[in-house]
């Protein structure tokens, strides 16, 4: 009796085991590999959204999407078209040309250490990297294609990459969506960290600045102007107010009017976002990392060289209703001597990070 019962149990177990491999009803298992993001010395922590953690698969997908020309109306442009590596992932042209051949109205910002930025675009209209990435795809002066079209292309067209599989690997989702695409690109951009300039090495005690570079560094940190006419002046270059080295980011992430124009009809800048009159003509402070490679300069790319930029600040700028208090427009500018200007530019060149722009992980994979 007992032996018969045991036989029945054994039979049931064997049949169950035989049936398991043939069962098709289980969900496929998905698990992405966490991406180990290394935060460089002296940098602050990076805030990564809880709903978009970095994964190896997500970053890889983001890199391919960043360089994918199917994200433009006529398959001619990718994000990388206006954010070229050798230009510090910005556009060496004053304005970028979109798929329609029309020019944009602001200089393309450099993509560098954006994982630390609390706002995006020259006027700070986007508060998350994910939101900022949505814009250029549909913008009529840029890639000019609806996200629905992009979703369909990535899902159904015979592109060079198996995107449905890559999205599955990255997110465990079968259906490709705009949200997932921007998340992947944001993951990739958060890995784009520059921390290997000569100045970084100097801070880490791995390199020395030349006497000229050091002189430029000291000018960078000193108040500007002649103290006789500018109370508080130290004959410095006054860069640190907006491009402070806190966290080695070289940007205060705030908005300033640095005295480019007397009026702002062409581009009111931050005012477009806040509608606050004191924000007229204010633009976000860009980082100075790789500044020597990021030209042309300013929101409208009006200056081609660092010499022109330094000369602008040296002049004190153009007075206007919202010009920043620290522009020396009423007192004849910074009044830097030629050797001081050269020293300042020598220091700015120490912020160049060739390792960053040549990093194979950031290049066009196609």
């Amino acid at each position: 009796m007992r032996g018969r019962l045991l036989n029945k149990i054994n039979a049931a177990i064997i049949i169950s085991i035989m049936l398991i491999p043939g069962c098709d009803c289980r969900e496929p298992q998905w698990e992405a590999t966490p991406y180990n993001l290394e935060i460089p010395a002296f940098f602050p922590p990076m805030d990564i959204p809880a709903d978009n953690p970095l994964t190896v698969e997500g970053v890889n997908l983001g890199r391919h999407l960043f360089w994918e020309k199917a994200l433009s109306l006529d398959y001619t442009m990718s994000c990388g078209s206006c954010h070229a590596p050798d230009a510090n992932f910005s556009d060496p042209n004053q304005y970028s040309e979109g798929v329609s051949g029309m020019l944009g109205d602001r200089n393309a910002s450099a993509i560098i250490n954006m994982g630390w930025s609390p706002s995006f675009a020259w006027d700070g209209r986007s508060l998350t990297l994910e939101d900022h990435i949505r814009d250029p795809v549909e913008h009529p002066l840029e890639m000019n294609v609806a996200w629905e079209v992009v979703e369909d292309r990535l899902q159904n067209e015979n592109l060079s990459m198996d995107y449905p599989q890559m999205f599955w690997d990255a997110f465990g989702e079968d259906v490709i969506t705009e949200d997932l695409a921007v998340k992947a690109i944001a993951q990739f951009i958060r890995t784009m960290i520059s921390s290997d300039s000569k100045f970084d090495k100097y801070r880490r005690g791995e390199a020395q600045l030349t006497s000229q570079e050091y002189m430029g560094y000291q000018l960078f940190l000193k108040e500007g102007g002649d103290p006789e006419v500018n109370p508080g002046g130290e004959f410095g270059a006054d860069c640190f107010h907006c491009h402070g080295e806190a966290g080695l980011q070289f940007s205060d992430y705030l908005f300033h009017n640095n005295g480019l124009d007397a009026s702002f009809e062409n581009d009111p800048g931050r005012f477009n976002v806040t509608a606050w009159p004191l924000d007229s003509g204010l633009f976000k402070t860009p980082t100075l990392r790789n500044v020597a490679l990021s030209g042309p300069y300013m929101h409208d790319g009006r200056f081609n060289t660092l010499e022109e930029v330094v000369e602008h600040y040296n002049s004190g700028g153009v007075p206007s209703s919202t010009i920043d208090t620290f522009m020396k427009y009423t007192t004849g500018g910074l009044q830097l001597a030629p050797a001081q200007k050269e020293a300042l530019i020598a220091f700015l060149n120490t912020l160049t990070d060739e390792t960053y722009i040549n990093n194979p992980d950031f290049q066009d994979p196609f």
């Binding site: 602050p44 630390w116 004191l278 209703s321 208090t325």
Partner: protein, 261 residues
């Protein structure tokens, strides 16, 4: 005898249970919360950043920026002891009023404490001001972090900017605002404390919210019966480059705060 012993035993047990239960009850309570609702004034009149006021009763002055750290809001009990919150916040008027909060642990406040004064620092205490690798040490959105405290850090040698007050003057009515003034103060010797005496004693208890309106009179921060700053000819300081002016300004600013109605 045996019954008495048993009674004593149960009484003691009950007392212990009561004490343990009572103290753990406070541990589970939420803190008392104090909100300070800051607003700006110019010589007694409410103003906002962006407004134009009259400097020395004749010169138009446009208020463009006021930011400062509010450090360690504390309450004074009736025995004169200070109860510290350890709070730190950065207030900025762009252009709306600012509220900053402090929490006082329920274990400190317990059944309620009568308090008769509020105190806080203008600035960042020395320990935090001179931390290695600040502001990167703090979470980004923390008031002392790289985003939460954006634009409020000089260098490792000088630390945080405690206060910023900026604006522009027009020499005469109808003129453009061309002449800037700016007070950027910092460094430990220029840390100031504000003491606000309350008209009436307040009983502060755990889990309760207390709100006070505090006015900062920017007019008084540049002129008082004791001192008057010349904004037109000597109106810019970044502290170390014009320490005398920075010190005069923070001394005036320290007296420019009051409990508002």
């Amino acid at each position: 005898m045996k019954r008495i012993l048993r009674l004593n035993f149960f009484t003691t047990l009950l007392a212990i249970l009561f004490i343990v239960g009572f103290s753990s009850c406070w541990e589970n309570k939420e803190s008392a919360k104090l909100d300070l609702n800051f607003s700006l004034a110019w010589n007694g009149n409410n103003v906002s950043i962006g407004d134009t006021v009259l400097y020395q009763n004749s010169m138009p002055l446009r208020l463009e920026k006021f930011k400062c750290y509010i450090d360690n809001i504390s309450l004074r009990d009736l025995e004169g002891n200070w109860i510290s919150s350890g709070s730190i916040d950065l207030i900025e008027f762009m252009p709306s009023n600012e509220i900053t909060s402090a929490e006082f642990g329920a274990d400190i406040i317990k059944r309620g404490k009568e308090v008769d004064a509020i105190r806080f620092g203008i600035g960042v205490d020395t320990q935090h001001n001179m931390l290695d690798n600040a502001p990167a040490t703090f979470p980004n959105e923390h008031p002392l972090g790289i985003v939460g405290g954006a634009g409020m850090y000089w260098t490792w040698a000088t630390g945080y900017i405690f206060t910023k007050f900026e604006g522009k003057l027009a020499v005469a009515e109808g003129d453009d605002f061309t002449d800037p003034f700016a007070f950027h103060t910092g460094t430990s010797p220029l840390y100031r404390e504000v003491l606000l005496e309350l008209d009436d004693e307040v009983c502060v208890a755990a889990e309760e919210l207390y709100e006070f309106n505090v006015s900062i009179d920017l007019g008084k921060s540049v002129a008082s019966a004791e001192d008057e700053l010349d904004l037109l000819n000597n109106g810019i300081t970044h502290t170390l480059d014009n320490i005398e002016l920075a010190e005069r300004y923070v001394n005036l600013l320290g007296d420019a705060w009051s409990i508002a109605e």
